[in-house]
Symmetry: C2
């Protein structure tokens, strides 16, 4: 059982074997300009991604749903989600961004008002600053608690989900409260609502998630089947990405500040954090020159791979130089931390500009 409310280092292969997630690999050649996270294996798994590839190739309507739970500060690992949304937006997708204020309340005790504040000044601000275009008319960002279509659909769908099933999926006991048990059903509605009549009817939908969210995906796909005759739902697709390792070697987590570079960090802070991050270096310089470093075990290399190095050739060069002992951790950290500083200098300016825009976005009418 995977528990989407707890965090743990994930065994990706086991996930693929046990839960039937298929390798993403198979589709790379079919996609015209795959996202770098696809090319670099960060996006490693999928369910039914074929229909998304087909929709993109044939320029047919399709949608991406990617929620945010406003429960803390965004860190650099979260950037990966926005990077994917940017790519999908350029590839013609309708973008739906539910803000999971209802889940934040049940899972973290955050009030709806506080969720809204946080969503605007942290999440939406960052999304804009990271390049997502909210001016387009095929993007819809909404608070769950304010989206009547979603909340009503959740209730309608919940008629064919029972306690035993939720217990089997999530391990709920009889003492689980209803807000907690009902939150996944709202998420199911988040994912399925782009396909109802008011939102343009059935279409392929993809949900890019970390593997810890797969229980929600499985539940959603099952529920979609049950309501196929009523709504004509196409079973939603999903992709699965690896999580970036934290600076300490543990999972990067907003609740453990030492593990994370926050998107609100100053360029100097971000630079410093890279300099003190855990690397895959050997015990001595001599040893490293002889045996080479271990980029697979280096959080600085991960920062390059996930975020800092746009060119695949450059990334390969770093990898081989490290492996061959041609570059030491100090030099590599210097490079990476400069890149990080540059990124944040630019990003901080964008963030300031984005704040004003962000305040108006939730006042817009929902797309459907």
């Amino acid at each position: 059982m995977i528990d989407p409310w707890s965090s743990a280092i994930i065994d990706y292969e086991k996930l693929t074997e046990q839960f039937g997630i298929k390798p993403f690999e198979d589709f790379k050649k079919d996609i015209e300009n795959p996202h770098i996270l696809m090319k670099r294996g960060v996006i490693f798994g999928q369910r039914d991604y074929g229909r998304i590839v087909k929709a993109m190739r044939e320029k047919k309507e399709f949608a991406v749903v990617s929620g945010m739970m406003p429960s803390g500060k965004m860190h650099i690992g979260h950037k990966m989600i926005v990077d994917q949304l940017n790519w999908y937006q350029k590839n013609g997708a309708d973008i739906y961004i539910p803000i999971a204020d209802m889940e934040a309340y049940s899972a973290r005790g955050v009030d709806f008002e506080d969720s809204k504040e946080l969503a605007i000044f942290e999440y939406i601000t960052n999304y804009i600053a990271l390049g997502l275009d909210f001016e387009k008319d095929n993007i819809d960002v909404y608070l769950q608690s304010e989206n009547q279509i979603v909340v009503d659909l959740a209730y309608i769908l919940s008629k064919r989900v029972n306690f035993n099933e939720m217990k089997a999926i999530y391990g709920f006991s009889g003492s689980a409260n209803f807000a907690h048990m009902y939150a996944p059903l709202i998420q199911v509605a988040d994912i399925l609502h782009p396909q109802i009549k008011e939102c343009g009817g059935p279409k392929p939908v993809v949900v890019p998630v970390g593997p810890d969210q797969d229980p929600h995906i499985r539940l959603t796909r099952d529920v979609a089947e049950r309501f196929k005759s009523k709504y004509g739902f196409i079973t939603p697709s999903s992709t699965y990405h690896r999580f970036i390792t934290g600076l300490t070697g543990d999972k990067m987590s907003s609740s453990k500040p030492k593990t994370a570079i926050f998107l609100s960090d100053s360029p100097q802070t971000a630079q410093k954090k890279v300099k003190s991050a855990k690397t895959g270096g050997r015990e001595s310089l001599d040893e490293q020159r002889e045996l080479g470093g271990i980029p697979e075990d280096c959080t600085v290399y991960e920062l390059l791979l996930y975020h800092l190095t746009g060119s695949d050739d450059e990334l390969k060069e770093v990898y081989h130089n490290c492996k061959n002992g041609n570059i030491m951790c100090g030099e590599c950290k210097n490079n990476a931390s400069s890149m990080m500083k540059n990124f944040f200098e630019d990003f901080n300016q964008k963030r300031e500009k984005a704040k004003k825009k962000a305040q108006k976005i939730l006042d817009r009418e929902s797309k459907c």
Copy 2:
């Protein structure tokens, strides 16, 4: 355990003993102009009604919440609810009328659209025709599925209700679906939402119900306690009314047309139905002259008591004439059926006029 979704003849005394419903009797003397249903013992029980009496006496703000589940035609038994609402409206109450379209969906499979149709052309139309004044600004009728305040509050409250508790109250098993289990929580929010800030803050609230609805009341009162510190809730009060017996001697029920006089019946049909109703008469006229009739066991007498006879003296006269054998069932039926015909002649006209008004009522902004 009382199951609010099934119908059964109720043992009123047992209810009062087992579930702690207090007699209404005690308050009759404290109310300036008690409703005839109070005077005649139809309203037989209450919880915490003292604070309602106090609010009326001191002309303080208080509210009545009385939902309708649009799942069929209204019968004459339902009129009693509107009669109470009329009385409360005249006594200064804020009136809240949730239309339980979410419950109608989960319990009866009625779509929201169909519920809305039925609510307008059957329920609201009848409520207007029966005299409830929707022009006042302290009356709020709404569809659950369209009231975001209520639906959001239901979710917030549901954080402190768990499956074990709902199982104990309603007998839900693991195979109960979530829509069914969640419906009572929406009803809890219906009852408590007049007390949140947006609706004017804490105030006494009374819910007039049949005793079959008491599980909902108990749950609501418990939940109110749990959120007292957050919202300042005053534990809601309730009253309990007897159900009118059906024309056949069984429970009056819309799903058993022979038991019921429908509010949409023609004057002629209604008259005929009274004429063929089960009475408390003896086997022969002679026997009845000798022993007297049994008004306690007479559905025609009940129609007089609940609906047709406004004057208590007149009602007493009928009772004693029957008991003493001075009036036979034929004559009594003739009188009652004429009164019923008169009522429906007038009511049908009012109903026609009410239809137009009814169509506009749900388009109004909710009061809070």
